[in-house]
Protein backbone atom coordinates (compact mmCIF):
# COMPACT_ATOMS: atom_id res chain seq x y z
CA UNK A 1 0.00 0.00 0.00
CA UNK A 2 2.65 2.55 -1.01
CA UNK A 3 1.33 6.04 -1.41
CA UNK A 4 2.79 7.70 -4.45
CA UNK A 5 3.51 11.10 -3.04
CA UNK A 6 6.98 11.00 -1.41
CA UNK A 7 5.99 13.68 1.02
CA UNK A 8 3.46 11.39 2.65
CA UNK A 9 5.85 8.56 3.36
CA UNK A 10 6.76 7.99 6.98
CA UNK A 11 10.42 7.82 7.91
CA UNK A 12 10.33 4.02 7.95
CA UNK A 13 8.60 3.81 4.62
CA UNK A 14 11.10 6.19 3.05
CA UNK A 15 13.97 4.18 4.50
CA UNK A 16 12.52 0.96 3.10
CA UNK A 17 11.97 2.63 -0.26
CA UNK A 18 15.53 3.98 -0.41
CA UNK A 19 16.94 0.64 0.70
CA UNK A 20 15.14 -1.23 -2.03
CA UNK A 21 16.42 1.28 -4.60
CA UNK A 22 19.94 0.90 -3.18
CA UNK A 23 19.77 -2.91 -3.33
CA UNK A 24 18.63 -2.79 -6.93
CA UNK A 25 21.34 -0.27 -7.74
CA UNK A 26 24.00 -2.51 -6.20
CA UNK A 27 22.70 -5.33 -8.35
CA UNK A 28 23.30 -3.14 -11.40
CA UNK A 29 19.84 -1.66 -12.00
CA UNK A 30 20.69 1.70 -13.60
CA UNK A 31 17.13 3.03 -13.46
CA UNK A 32 16.76 2.42 -9.74
CA UNK A 33 20.16 3.98 -9.20
CA UNK A 34 19.17 7.11 -11.07
CA UNK A 35 15.97 7.41 -9.02
CA UNK A 36 17.94 6.93 -5.80
CA UNK A 37 20.55 9.57 -6.67
CA UNK A 38 17.84 12.03 -7.68
CA UNK A 39 15.95 11.37 -4.43
CA UNK A 40 19.05 11.75 -2.30
CA UNK A 41 20.04 14.87 -4.22
CA UNK A 42 16.67 16.41 -3.40
CA UNK A 43 17.29 15.72 0.29
CA UNK A 44 20.90 16.91 0.17
CA UNK A 45 20.15 20.29 -1.43
CA UNK A 46 18.20 21.80 1.50
CA UNK A 47 20.49 20.00 3.96
CA UNK A 48 23.55 21.81 2.60
CA UNK A 49 21.74 25.07 1.85
CA UNK A 50 20.72 25.37 5.51
CA UNK A 51 24.28 24.80 6.69
CA UNK A 52 26.22 27.00 4.28
CA UNK A 53 26.00 30.68 4.96
CA UNK A 54 27.28 32.02 1.68
CA UNK A 55 24.07 32.44 -0.24
CA UNK A 56 24.08 28.89 -1.57
CA UNK A 57 26.70 29.31 -4.29
CA UNK A 58 28.51 26.18 -3.14
CA UNK A 59 25.41 24.12 -2.37
CA UNK A 60 25.08 22.53 -5.79
CA UNK A 61 28.82 21.76 -5.94
CA UNK A 62 28.55 20.03 -2.60
CA UNK A 63 25.43 18.10 -3.68
CA UNK A 64 27.31 16.86 -6.74
CA UNK A 65 30.42 15.98 -4.77
CA UNK A 66 28.33 14.01 -2.29
CA UNK A 67 26.44 12.18 -5.04
CA UNK A 68 29.77 11.20 -6.60
CA UNK A 69 30.96 9.92 -3.22
CA UNK A 70 27.72 7.99 -2.73
CA UNK A 71 28.25 6.47 -6.16
CA UNK A 72 31.94 5.55 -5.84
CA UNK A 73 31.65 4.36 -2.22
CA UNK A 74 28.36 2.51 -2.69
CA UNK A 75 29.84 -0.86 -1.79
CA UNK A 76 30.65 0.41 1.71
CA UNK A 77 26.94 0.30 2.54
CA UNK A 78 26.08 -2.85 4.43
CA UNK A 79 22.75 -4.40 3.55
CA UNK A 80 21.79 -4.58 7.24
CA UNK A 81 22.66 -0.94 7.83
CA UNK A 82 20.37 2.09 7.77
CA UNK A 83 20.68 3.75 4.37
CA UNK A 84 19.75 7.21 5.61
CA UNK A 85 22.35 6.93 8.35
CA UNK A 86 24.96 5.93 5.79
CA UNK A 87 24.06 8.73 3.37
CA UNK A 88 23.89 11.26 6.20
CA UNK A 89 27.37 10.30 7.40
CA UNK A 90 28.73 10.81 3.87
CA UNK A 91 26.97 14.17 3.50
CA UNK A 92 28.26 15.30 6.89
CA UNK A 93 31.80 14.23 5.99
CA UNK A 94 31.65 16.18 2.73
CA UNK A 95 30.22 19.23 4.47
CA UNK A 96 32.92 19.27 7.15
CA UNK A 97 35.59 18.74 4.50
CA UNK A 98 34.18 21.63 2.50
CA UNK A 99 34.01 24.00 5.48
CA UNK A 100 37.54 23.09 6.51
CA UNK A 101 38.88 23.74 3.03
CA UNK A 102 37.01 27.02 2.77
CA UNK A 103 38.23 28.07 6.21
CA UNK A 104 41.80 27.71 5.04
CA UNK A 105 41.61 29.98 2.03
CA UNK A 106 40.60 33.61 2.47
CA UNK A 107 37.23 34.52 1.07
CA UNK A 108 36.53 37.68 -0.85
CA UNK A 109 33.00 38.70 0.03
CA UNK A 110 31.24 40.45 -2.82
CA UNK A 111 29.26 42.73 -0.53
CA UNK A 112 32.02 45.04 0.70
CA UNK A 113 30.17 47.88 -1.00
CA UNK A 114 26.95 47.26 0.89
CA UNK A 115 28.95 47.22 4.10
CA UNK A 116 30.24 50.64 3.13
CA UNK A 117 26.69 51.94 2.88
CA UNK A 118 25.56 50.36 6.12
CA UNK A 119 25.65 53.03 8.85
CA UNK A 120 27.66 51.08 11.39
CA UNK A 121 29.38 54.02 13.05
CA UNK A 122 29.32 57.77 13.03
CA UNK A 123 32.45 57.73 10.96
CA UNK A 124 30.86 55.47 8.37
CA UNK A 125 28.02 57.95 8.08
CA UNK A 126 30.45 60.82 7.61
CA UNK A 127 32.31 58.92 4.90
CA UNK A 128 29.08 58.22 3.16
CA UNK A 129 28.04 61.86 3.31
CA UNK A 130 31.41 62.95 1.91
CA UNK A 131 31.17 60.39 -0.81
CA UNK A 132 27.74 61.44 -1.93
CA UNK A 133 28.83 65.08 -1.90
CA UNK A 134 31.71 64.19 -4.24
CA UNK A 135 29.54 62.13 -6.50
CA UNK A 136 27.01 64.95 -6.67
CA UNK A 137 29.49 66.67 -8.96
CA UNK A 138 28.57 64.18 -11.68
CA UNK A 139 25.52 64.19 -13.93
CA UNK A 140 22.80 61.90 -12.50
CA UNK A 141 23.05 59.09 -15.09
CA UNK A 142 26.84 59.01 -14.92
CA UNK A 143 26.70 59.01 -11.13
CA UNK A 144 24.41 56.01 -10.92
CA UNK A 145 26.75 54.08 -13.18
CA UNK A 146 29.75 54.91 -11.01
CA UNK A 147 27.85 53.93 -7.88
CA UNK A 148 26.92 50.55 -9.34
CA UNK A 149 30.41 49.70 -10.54
CA UNK A 150 32.69 51.30 -7.97
CA UNK A 151 30.56 51.03 -4.84
CA UNK A 152 28.05 48.22 -5.25
CA UNK A 153 30.53 45.97 -6.97
CA UNK A 154 28.54 45.15 -10.10
CA UNK A 155 30.45 44.36 -13.27
CA UNK A 156 30.59 47.03 -15.93
CA UNK A 157 28.35 44.88 -18.15
CA UNK A 158 25.67 44.54 -15.43
CA UNK A 159 25.72 48.24 -14.61
CA UNK A 160 25.58 49.15 -18.31
CA UNK A 161 22.50 46.98 -18.74
CA UNK A 162 20.86 48.54 -15.66
CA UNK A 163 21.19 52.04 -16.97
CA UNK A 164 20.73 51.49 -20.68
CA UNK A 165 24.33 51.98 -21.74
CA UNK A 166 26.19 49.86 -24.24
CA UNK A 167 29.28 48.24 -22.73
CA UNK A 168 31.67 50.57 -24.56
CA UNK A 169 29.64 53.65 -23.70
CA UNK A 170 29.59 52.60 -20.04
CA UNK A 171 33.36 52.18 -19.99
CA UNK A 172 33.87 55.58 -21.58
CA UNK A 173 31.45 57.17 -19.12
CA UNK A 174 33.18 55.62 -16.11
CA UNK A 175 36.53 56.74 -17.40
CA UNK A 176 35.27 60.30 -17.85
CA UNK A 177 33.67 60.35 -14.39
CA UNK A 178 36.81 59.12 -12.69
CA UNK A 179 38.91 61.63 -14.58
CA UNK A 180 36.58 64.41 -13.56
CA UNK A 181 36.52 63.36 -9.91
CA UNK A 182 40.25 62.90 -9.91
CA UNK A 183 40.86 66.33 -11.36
CA UNK A 184 38.46 67.87 -8.89
CA UNK A 185 39.51 66.19 -5.66
CA UNK A 186 42.89 64.52 -6.06
CA UNK A 187 45.70 65.97 -3.95
CA UNK A 188 49.01 66.82 -5.47
CA UNK A 189 50.64 63.46 -4.56
CA UNK A 190 47.97 61.20 -5.96
CA UNK A 191 47.17 63.33 -8.99
CA UNK A 192 49.38 61.24 -11.23
CA UNK A 193 48.01 57.87 -10.08
CA UNK A 194 46.10 56.13 -12.76
CA UNK A 195 43.05 54.08 -11.98
CA UNK A 196 42.39 50.82 -13.67
CA UNK A 197 39.46 50.51 -15.96
CA UNK A 198 38.05 47.04 -16.61
Amino acid sequence: MRRHNEGWLTVNEREAHLQSLMRRGLDGDARAWRVLLTDLGAHLRPFFARRLFDGGGDTEDLVQETLIAIHTKRTTWDRNQSLSGWAYAIARHKLIDHLRRRGRRPTHPLDEASELFADHTVEDGATRADLSRCLAQLPARQRRLIEDVRLKGLTVAEAAANHGYTLTAAKVSIHRSMKLLNARFATAESAGTSFDED
Binding site: G25, L26, D27, G28, D29, A30, R31, W33, R34, L37, T38, G41, E60, V63, Q64, L67, I68, A69, H71, K73, R74, T75, T76, W77, D78, R79, Q81, S82, G85, W86, A87, Y88, A89, I90, R92, H93
Partner: protein, 213 residues
Protein backbone atom coordinates in the same frame (compact mmCIF):
# COMPACT_ATOMS: atom_id res chain seq x y z
CA UNK B 1 27.74 20.36 -15.14
CA UNK B 2 24.12 20.05 -14.16
CA UNK B 3 23.32 17.66 -11.35
CA UNK B 4 20.82 15.85 -13.55
CA UNK B 5 23.50 15.18 -16.18
CA UNK B 6 25.88 14.03 -13.48
CA UNK B 7 23.33 11.51 -12.20
CA UNK B 8 22.76 10.24 -15.73
CA UNK B 9 26.50 9.85 -16.25
CA UNK B 10 26.92 8.00 -12.94
CA UNK B 11 24.02 5.64 -13.65
CA UNK B 12 25.70 4.43 -16.85
CA UNK B 13 28.70 3.06 -14.98
CA UNK B 14 27.09 0.53 -12.67
CA UNK B 15 28.62 -2.93 -12.51
CA UNK B 16 26.72 -5.19 -10.06
CA UNK B 17 28.52 -5.67 -6.76
CA UNK B 18 28.06 -8.33 -4.13
CA UNK B 19 27.37 -7.95 -0.44
CA UNK B 20 30.06 -7.50 2.23
CA UNK B 21 32.61 -5.99 -0.15
CA UNK B 22 34.59 -4.46 2.71
CA UNK B 23 35.20 -7.78 4.47
CA UNK B 24 36.04 -9.48 1.19
CA UNK B 25 38.54 -6.80 0.30
CA UNK B 26 40.31 -6.99 3.65
CA UNK B 27 40.45 -10.79 3.56
CA UNK B 28 41.84 -10.75 0.02
CA UNK B 29 44.58 -8.29 0.93
CA UNK B 30 45.54 -10.35 3.98
CA UNK B 31 46.61 -13.28 1.84
CA UNK B 32 49.57 -11.59 0.10
CA UNK B 33 50.31 -9.66 3.31
CA UNK B 34 50.60 -12.90 5.29
CA UNK B 35 52.74 -14.53 2.59
CA UNK B 36 55.18 -11.61 2.53
CA UNK B 37 55.52 -11.62 6.34
CA UNK B 38 55.91 -15.41 6.34
CA UNK B 39 58.68 -15.08 3.76
CA UNK B 40 60.26 -12.34 5.86
CA UNK B 41 60.24 -14.48 9.00
CA UNK B 42 61.38 -17.65 7.21
CA UNK B 43 64.13 -16.17 5.02
CA UNK B 44 65.42 -13.38 7.21
CA UNK B 45 64.83 -14.28 10.86
CA UNK B 46 64.53 -18.06 10.56
CA UNK B 47 61.97 -20.19 12.39
CA UNK B 48 62.64 -21.05 16.00
CA UNK B 49 64.61 -24.29 16.21
CA UNK B 50 62.17 -25.92 18.64
CA UNK B 51 59.14 -24.99 16.53
CA UNK B 52 57.83 -28.56 16.20
CA UNK B 53 57.91 -29.28 19.94
CA UNK B 54 56.68 -25.78 20.83
CA UNK B 55 53.60 -26.28 18.68
CA UNK B 56 52.51 -29.10 20.94
CA UNK B 57 52.57 -26.84 23.99
CA UNK B 58 49.95 -24.42 25.17
CA UNK B 59 52.01 -21.22 25.42
CA UNK B 60 52.76 -21.14 21.70
CA UNK B 61 49.08 -21.17 20.90
CA UNK B 62 48.14 -18.81 23.71
CA UNK B 63 50.57 -16.26 22.31
CA UNK B 64 49.25 -16.78 18.79
CA UNK B 65 45.68 -16.49 20.09
CA UNK B 66 46.40 -13.09 21.66
CA UNK B 67 48.00 -11.61 18.55
CA UNK B 68 45.45 -13.19 16.23
CA UNK B 69 42.67 -11.79 18.41
CA UNK B 70 44.24 -8.35 18.09
CA UNK B 71 44.32 -8.81 14.32
CA UNK B 72 40.68 -9.89 14.34
CA UNK B 73 39.72 -6.85 16.41
CA UNK B 74 41.60 -4.67 13.94
CA UNK B 75 39.72 -6.34 11.12
CA UNK B 76 36.39 -5.77 12.84
CA UNK B 77 37.23 -2.17 13.71
CA UNK B 78 38.45 -1.37 10.19
CA UNK B 79 35.37 -2.89 8.57
CA UNK B 80 33.16 -0.77 10.86
CA UNK B 81 35.11 2.44 10.38
CA UNK B 82 35.20 1.91 6.63
CA UNK B 83 31.40 2.22 6.57
CA UNK B 84 30.03 5.72 7.04
CA UNK B 85 27.51 5.79 9.86
CA UNK B 86 28.42 2.39 11.36
CA UNK B 87 29.18 2.21 15.07
CA UNK B 88 32.72 1.29 16.13
CA UNK B 89 31.90 0.71 19.81
CA UNK B 90 31.68 -3.08 19.55
CA UNK B 91 35.26 -3.61 18.34
CA UNK B 92 36.63 -0.83 20.54
CA UNK B 93 35.11 -2.38 23.66
CA UNK B 94 36.36 -5.84 22.79
CA UNK B 95 39.82 -4.40 22.14
CA UNK B 96 39.74 -2.89 25.61
CA UNK B 97 38.59 -6.17 27.17
CA UNK B 98 41.27 -8.10 25.30
CA UNK B 99 44.08 -5.81 26.43
CA UNK B 100 42.77 -5.75 29.99
CA UNK B 101 42.48 -9.55 30.00
CA UNK B 102 46.06 -10.11 28.86
CA UNK B 103 47.38 -7.44 31.22
CA UNK B 104 45.52 -9.17 34.06
CA UNK B 105 46.92 -12.56 33.09
CA UNK B 106 50.45 -11.16 32.91
CA UNK B 107 50.06 -9.47 36.29
CA UNK B 108 48.74 -12.69 37.81
CA UNK B 109 51.71 -14.66 36.45
CA UNK B 110 54.14 -12.10 37.85
CA UNK B 111 52.47 -12.09 41.27
CA UNK B 112 52.64 -15.84 41.60
CA UNK B 113 56.34 -15.89 40.68
CA UNK B 114 59.15 -15.62 43.21
CA UNK B 115 60.64 -12.13 43.15
CA UNK B 116 63.97 -12.88 41.40
CA UNK B 117 62.19 -14.54 38.46
CA UNK B 118 59.92 -11.59 37.75
CA UNK B 119 62.34 -9.30 35.90
CA UNK B 120 63.67 -12.05 33.58
CA UNK B 121 60.06 -13.04 32.83
CA UNK B 122 59.29 -9.54 31.62
CA UNK B 123 62.53 -8.98 29.75
CA UNK B 124 63.07 -12.47 28.27
CA UNK B 125 66.08 -12.73 25.95
CA UNK B 126 64.80 -10.45 23.19
CA UNK B 127 62.97 -7.54 24.84
CA UNK B 128 65.04 -4.98 22.99
CA UNK B 129 64.43 -6.28 19.50
CA UNK B 130 60.88 -7.63 19.83
CA UNK B 131 58.93 -4.41 19.20
CA UNK B 132 61.21 -3.13 16.38
CA UNK B 133 61.03 -6.49 14.61
CA UNK B 134 57.23 -6.53 14.84
CA UNK B 135 57.21 -3.01 13.43
CA UNK B 136 59.48 -4.02 10.53
CA UNK B 137 57.41 -7.09 9.70
CA UNK B 138 54.28 -4.92 9.84
CA UNK B 139 55.87 -2.56 7.34
CA UNK B 140 56.13 -5.51 4.91
CA UNK B 141 52.41 -6.25 5.21
CA UNK B 142 51.16 -2.68 5.49
CA UNK B 143 51.10 -1.74 1.77
CA UNK B 144 48.55 -4.48 1.04
CA UNK B 145 46.26 -3.62 3.93
CA UNK B 146 46.38 0.15 3.45
CA UNK B 147 45.92 -0.15 -0.28
CA UNK B 148 42.80 -2.26 0.25
CA UNK B 149 41.42 0.15 2.84
CA UNK B 150 41.77 3.12 0.51
CA UNK B 151 38.59 1.96 -1.22
CA UNK B 152 36.61 2.36 2.00
CA UNK B 153 34.94 5.53 3.20
CA UNK B 154 36.13 6.24 6.76
CA UNK B 155 34.87 9.47 8.27
CA UNK B 156 37.46 9.12 11.04
CA UNK B 157 40.58 8.65 8.96
CA UNK B 158 43.02 8.59 11.86
CA UNK B 159 41.16 5.92 13.78
CA UNK B 160 40.70 3.88 10.60
CA UNK B 161 44.46 4.10 10.00
CA UNK B 162 45.06 2.85 13.55
CA UNK B 163 42.66 -0.04 12.90
CA UNK B 164 44.53 -0.93 9.70
CA UNK B 165 47.79 -0.74 11.66
CA UNK B 166 46.37 -2.97 14.39
CA UNK B 167 45.24 -5.54 11.82
CA UNK B 168 48.61 -5.45 10.04
CA UNK B 169 50.65 -5.72 13.23
CA UNK B 170 48.38 -8.42 14.67
CA UNK B 171 48.97 -10.48 11.55
CA UNK B 172 52.70 -9.77 11.51
CA UNK B 173 53.22 -10.57 15.19
CA UNK B 174 51.27 -13.81 14.94
CA UNK B 175 53.74 -14.97 12.29
CA UNK B 176 56.63 -13.46 14.28
CA UNK B 177 55.70 -16.07 16.90
CA UNK B 178 57.16 -18.68 14.53
CA UNK B 179 60.57 -17.12 15.19
CA UNK B 180 60.26 -15.70 18.70
CA UNK B 181 60.81 -18.30 21.47
CA UNK B 182 59.61 -16.10 24.34
CA UNK B 183 56.96 -17.88 26.34
CA UNK B 184 55.90 -15.77 29.33
CA UNK B 185 52.67 -13.82 29.45
CA UNK B 186 54.38 -10.69 30.90
CA UNK B 187 56.81 -10.60 27.97
CA UNK B 188 54.03 -10.87 25.40
CA UNK B 189 51.78 -8.42 27.25
CA UNK B 190 54.53 -5.79 27.33
CA UNK B 191 56.71 -6.15 24.24
CA UNK B 192 54.30 -7.60 21.69
CA UNK B 193 51.66 -5.08 22.73
CA UNK B 194 54.21 -2.28 22.50
CA UNK B 195 55.21 -3.21 18.94
CA UNK B 196 51.60 -3.53 17.88
CA UNK B 197 50.65 -0.25 19.53
CA UNK B 198 53.52 1.49 17.73
CA UNK B 199 52.28 0.09 14.43
CA UNK B 200 48.74 1.27 15.20
CA UNK B 201 50.06 4.73 16.07
CA UNK B 202 52.01 4.97 12.82
CA UNK B 203 48.96 3.64 10.99
CA UNK B 204 46.87 6.47 12.42
CA UNK B 205 49.27 9.01 10.93
CA UNK B 206 49.30 7.24 7.56
CA UNK B 207 45.51 6.88 7.57
CA UNK B 208 45.03 10.57 8.16
CA UNK B 209 46.81 11.28 4.88
CA UNK B 210 46.03 8.18 2.83
CA UNK B 211 42.36 7.65 3.66
CA UNK B 212 41.10 11.06 2.55
CA UNK B 213 38.20 10.91 0.16
Amino acid sequence: MKTEDLITALSVDLPPSGNRQIERRILLCMIPAALVVLAGVGLWLGFRSDLASAMIGLTFWAKAAYTAALAATGFWLLSRLGRPGASAWGPLISLGLLLAGVAGLAAFQLMTMPMPERMPAVMGDSARKCAPLILLLSALAAPFVFWAARAFAPTRTGLAGAAAGLLTAGLASTLYGLYCPEHTAPFVAVWYSLGIAAAAGLGAGIGRVLFRW
